[in-house]
Symmetry: C2
Subunit: 230 residues, 2 copies
Amino acid sequence: MTTEEPRRQRLTRAEAKARTRKLLLEAAAQTFARKGYAGSSVEEIAEAAGFSIGALYSNFGNKEELFLELSTTYNADRIAEASEVLLDQDADPVQAVNEVSRLLVDAADKDTDFSLLQAEFWLYAVRNPQVLDQMATRMRTPRAALEQLVGKSLETMPAPAEATPKAVATIVAALFEGLVRQRRIDPDQVPEELFGAALRWLFSGIEVSGREKKVAAPAKRKPAKRPRQG
Amino acid sequence: MTTEEPRRQRLTRAEAKARTRKLLLEAAAQTFARKGYAGSSVEEIAEAAGFSIGALYSNFGNKEELFLELSTTYNADRIAEASEVLLDQDADPVQAVNEVSRLLVDAADKDTDFSLLQAEFWLYAVRNPQVLDQMATRMRTPRAALEQLVGKSLETMPAPAEATPKAVATIVAALFEGLVRQRRIDPDQVPEELFGAALRWLFSGIEVSGREKKVAAPAKRKPAKRPRQG
DNA sequence: GTCTATACGTCGATAGAC
DNA sequence: GTCTATCGACGTATAGAC
């Protein structure tokens, strides 16, 4: 056994490095969240992962590349989870929005690093225009999922023309983000129910606005909907 | 003239220092916004203000104290302006909310440092619990002003019991903050009208929710309102 | 009250051993 | 592929001249 050829002991060669990368990225997430990008040293990150500085530079070009790769993979992971949940809702679309918001609040409370990292990513992007485009692009997938969910809700009501899925999705996302942030400063001021209440009021308001204007010029709607299920 | 006693040339002694402090704080705001707290050096700040490192340390204990004082004075200034505008509205409370949101969007677009600094303050506060309390305290004044404005709007409609001024003010603040942030990443996705639209829908939704429940148990209200004006 | 010079530490990144 | 040792640059904060 011990004299076996080193060609593939277990599949160690490539996998060991992948494992190191993963551990380094997790340590980076923790460290960047706690100390910020500029406030975190590569030594700190490497130590938190149980490796040395050399191992870090063997896996990432430099500190900035590590940070940018984290901003990609970290969000990609969350988005994968969230998108599944968002699109897997068969129940009332309106109720689904409520449930989703509940799930997101839970996640935000448990994963205390999340909002900190998002703030770091946002700051970095705003300060580095070329990264800003990347971030806008990455946000497109989860945003599309949210738009789809919101769109389904809007179809159940006589929404006004201004209440496009895109516009309402933007409002919902902003609302959520803002409330999570406020909640970190003063949890008592932002109880869990507030998320659901805000969404209910928002959609109720959209509905009555649509009703007041009667049927608000639905001419642009494509008639070819529900390609399945019929 | 030149041999005159130096007791008070103009009132220079105290005022010169105050002027230096002010210039340093302005330079600090700019630098912290552009580079972040940890990413900014005291030398950079001092240079931007046209002074030396020594002058900075002569006016502030250290980098952290400069940052914390900035977080106080900077917000105090904005709050003073905003509060005036918020409480000076004699028009329709509902319309006033719209106008205020318009003003705030304008301010956010012009003062590009604002949201960056707010993000820095928020991150610093979340990472330093003792500072978090200070921040929560400082936010009380502007929050009270917003609550008052929101409260006036709510009095004009049959709002449900859950729609307290405090709760709705929290939602409005979160909405605004979230939209401003989104707008920095992708301005096209967050047009100016979206702020007003979101607020109209929100308040419309609150109104119909209150109407559906008829008069929603206003038992908790203290009868001793309007101590003046009667 | 402000400036110049400097002490002292830390950080990012590299080179070479294993 | 990872670790240890180290270099050069930069950062905070202080001391003393003016």
